[in-house]
């Protein structure tokens, strides 16, 4: 048998708990169906909550964010980092000419903000757009990279 630690549930004690009902449902599902949350983590479901899906990866020296943004022009995408939050925005205006007289503008705007891990070199962030995927590389700062420390023996 598996023991599960008692957890204050907002269903029973809404005034004390800081978690939302959604968090509670997520926790319940994680406990009851652990395999399901693995599938979810591996992107088995279309489970993104924003306007486009993103992935976060870790490399030895950097974090990598990938965002699926098909059909944009490079100049219509913007990447901003402020206060530990990465914001990716795509804003596109296309002129549609149905025939010679009728002209209209189609506008599409999507945006997503992701809170970033700490200890990044904000000035060394690079972004690249290829095959409809925006890849943002966020180098880790020196202090979090594994370092060897010599121990002096007296």
């Amino acid at each position: 048998m598996k023991l599960v630690r008692y957890h204050n549930s907002p269903l029973y004690n809404p005034s004390v708990s800081h978690t939302t009902l959604r968090d509670e449902m997520d926790r319940l599902f994680d406990v009851a169906f652990p395999a399901l949350s693995t599938l979810q983590r591996d992107g088995f479901f279309d489970n993104w909550q924003g306007e486009f899906p993103v992935d976060l990866y870790q490399e030895k020296d950097a974090f990598v964010v990938r965002a699926e943004l098909p059909g944009f022009r490079k100049e219509d995408l913007s990447v901003e980092v402020a206060d530990g939050i990465l914001t990716v925005t795509g804003h596109q205006k296309t002129e549609v000419t149905a025939d010679k007289e009728k002209k209209s503008t189609q506008e599409r705007k999507v945006s997503r903000s992701i809170s970033l891990p700490e200890h990044l070199q904000a000035d060394k962030i690079t972004a690249n757009y290829e095959a409809g995927i925006l890849t943002v590389k966020l180098p880790k700062s020196e202090e979090v990279k594994p370092k060897q420390i010599a121990i002096e023996v007296k």
Binding site: V54, D55, L56, G71
Partner: protein
Amino acid sequence: MNLLTKKETPVAANRVVTPRYDVHETAEAYVVTASVPGVDKSSFETTVDGDTLTIVGRRAATPADWTPVYREIPQADFKLVLEVDRRFNREAIKAELSQGVLTLTLPKAEAVKPRKIEILG
């Protein structure tokens, strides 16, 4: 259900999803546009077999030294199967890929192009 017990099976290998797509018609052709981000130009297969048009796009894998922390992008290839009739010219299908959007142009057969008929007399 078997799905839940097979924890170690890589989900990526054979899964396919239908891409978001549109079909519209111009005077000259039927145009199919499909969103297929992350697929390289060389990893597409477009086949017309009888009444079926099939487009398969394989996603490029992420570098092996990237450890996933959080994932939303489905680890699946794209497959779009459309039922078509014979009203377009099969020999002249054109495909174009630009920033993750595939545009397929199926030129109309001469027989279905709009024709203006002169009224005589």
